[in-house]
């Protein structure tokens, strides 16, 4: 199974620096290098929040997890966060092995994530 990758940069001012990556298909040994290649310029650019939308991700192998973990590491070093939304049950199970890492957040959907990000922004504004 191949993978489709859609990368969107947020245009709204309150979400500046947020990049959403939608994955559709299977993230495995064969397809992981393609995601790594496409993520490299994104991670090298101005970015604070990286959001993976996993609604259509059917399968993930350890090679796929490695890409998520490296993105997390890079972003965390810049003070950013890597978030995951719409995680399917079969992905959730594999995800156990990285979900407790600092710099990773998992949200049910966009609404839940936006509430979190808004709260975080307010906190920053109150305590600059």
């Amino acid at each position: 199974m191949p993978i489709e990758i859609q990368i969107q940069k947020s245009v709204s001012p309150q979400n500046a620096g947020t990049v959403t990556v939608k994955l559709n298909g299977s993230l495995d040994t064969v397809t992981a290098p393609e995601l790594e290649r496409q993520l490299a310029p994104v991670l090298g650019g101005p970015i604070r929040d990286l959001v993976f939308d996993l609604a259509q991700l059917k399968f993930i192998s350890s090679a796929g997890l490695r890409i998520f973990a490296s993105a997390r590491k890079l972003l965390k070093a810049k003070g950013g966060q890597t978030s995951f939304i719409h995680m399917q049950p079969q992905i959730e199970e594999v995800f156990e092995i990285i979900k407790a890492l600092p710099g990773i957040a998992i949200f049910k959907d966009v609404a839940e994530m936006d509430r979190y990000l808004a709260a975080r922004q307010r906190m920053h504004q109150d305590n600059p």
Binding site: S62, A63, R66, A69, K73, I97, L101
Partner: protein
């Protein structure tokens, strides 16, 4: 590299006159095979695989395009250079030839000098790529020996000393892989077992595997609790890990005097406990975080007691995620059901039996991931040497292993 004069050229043409010209031109430089039609060409190629094929297109029976496609499907000739020699000179014919898998296309009438030059060029390119492949293959064979040499295969001494029995198997999907296991006699009442799975497969996974297994062996002797072995191993692996590799890892410490087994998990598949006379169950509930991402992580421990005949089965996801040709997964449910059928069997029989079940399930589907299984079966509870006079039941071997 193979000499050009040792290379065999298969010439396929239904016109005897054309064959004669080509034979005359090439016989001094190469070994030759001849075929007068497509069927014959396939037979000759299968019997005596050529290093290059010169192929006519318009022939009675199978045409050259079809012969080319079939040669590409045969393992012996899948990569052999194929050059069409045809009077069809339209660009569509040439394109079709390349689409069928050809490497070159020359139109008739041809200059013999040009045929010879192209034949030499194609053969040289093939010889170069063969030599490069052979070098990689031979290096991988040695790498595999080194890697396999790091895994314990002979358990008799440890089995006697700790009143346990072991079964183990490890089969990489490629020549080398990222699965690992180890057994360490770490003290008179402390036997450490571990099993892990490095992310990815092939050479990168195997290099990280060597790091992980070497460190784990040292730490198993140095650190008492399995959760602390994991924490230390994680700190070491995460410290210098530019490629972001990780390893899922299960570590257990068995104390044969009490039967106590302490397990700690770093993101690895849940191990199966196969108790004597009871249905199998998961020996550990939590998965935990894998090793190598971030230093400073802590791990949980699970304690259980093994009675005589109870067996702990550790395995990698090459087992639970083996796929069959219908793209279905073997899965953990099937693993528990299959494990139950081996209750009461010796440890090596359980391992061999499970491997065979996974193989039977996968059928003709290629092995997609490395496979490792390690079974530890508790034997008769050992007596505490301190409660016995002069330790009469302790074999010299136990003492030797314990003091090692």
């Amino acid at each position: 590299m193979k000499k050009l004069s040792d290379c065999r050229v298969l010439i396929v043409d239904d016109a005897k006159a054309n064959l004669d010209i080509l034979v005359e031109g090439l016989k001094a430089d190469h070994k030759l095979s001849l075929a007068l039609n497509g069927e014959m060409a396939l037979q000759v190629a299968a019997r005596n695989p050529p290093d290059l094929v010169l192929l006519d297109i318009v022939m009675p029976g199978l045409d050259g395009y079809e012969v080319c496609r079939r040669l590409r499907q045969m393992p012996e000739t899948a990569e052999v250079p194929i050059m069409f020699l045809s009077s069809l000179e339209e660009v569509q014919n040439k394109t079709r030839g390349f689409e069928a898998g050809a490497n070159d296309y020359l139109t008739k009438p041809f200059e013999m000098l040009e045929v010879k030059a192209r034949v030499r060029s194609l053969l040289k390119a093939k010889a170069y790529s063969d030599a490069a492949k052979e070098q990689i293959a031979s290096e991988l064979r040695v790498a595999r020996e080194i890697q396999m040499g790091m895994l314990p295969r002979e358990f008799t001494a440890v089995e006697q000393a700790y009143s346990v029995s072991f079964g183990a198997v490890l089969e990489p999907a490629r020549e080398v892989g990222g699965d690992l296991y180890g057994i360490c006699a770490a003290g008179p009442d402390r036997l450490v077992v571990f099993l892990g799975d490095v992310s990815g497969k092939g050479i990168p996974a195997s290099m990280f595997m060597v790091r992980a297994i070497s460190l784990a062996r040292l730490l198993a002797r140095e650190v008492a609790e399995p959760e602390r072995i994991l924490a230390r191993l994680n700190d070491e692996l995460a410290a210098d890990n530019p490629s972001g590799m990780f390893v899922t890892f299960l570590c257990g410490v068995f104390e044969p005097l009490s039967g106590r087994l302490t397990l700690a998990n770093a993101g690895h598949c849940r191990p199966v406990l196969l108790p004597a006379g009871e249905p199998p169950r998961w020996a550990v509930r939590n998965l935990g975080t894998a090793l190598g991402f971030e230093p400073g992580l802590a791990f949980e421990r699970t304690e259980l007691t093994l009675r005589e005949g109870d067996t702990l089965i550790l395995y990698t996801d090459g087992v639970s995620e083996a796929f069959n040709p219908q793209d279905e997964c073997y899965g953990t449910d099937r693993l528990l059901v299959d494990a139950a059928t081996f209750a009461g069997e010796p440890a090596p029989a359980i391992v061999a039996g499970l491997l065979q079940r996974v193989r039977a399930f996968a059928g003709t589907a290629p092995q997609s991931d490395d496979i490792a299984i390690l079974a530890l079966r508790a034997g008769r509870r050992m007596q505490d040497p301190s409660s016995r006079e002069a330790g009469e039941n302790i074999s010299p071997l136990t003492k030797r292993l314990a003091s090692a």
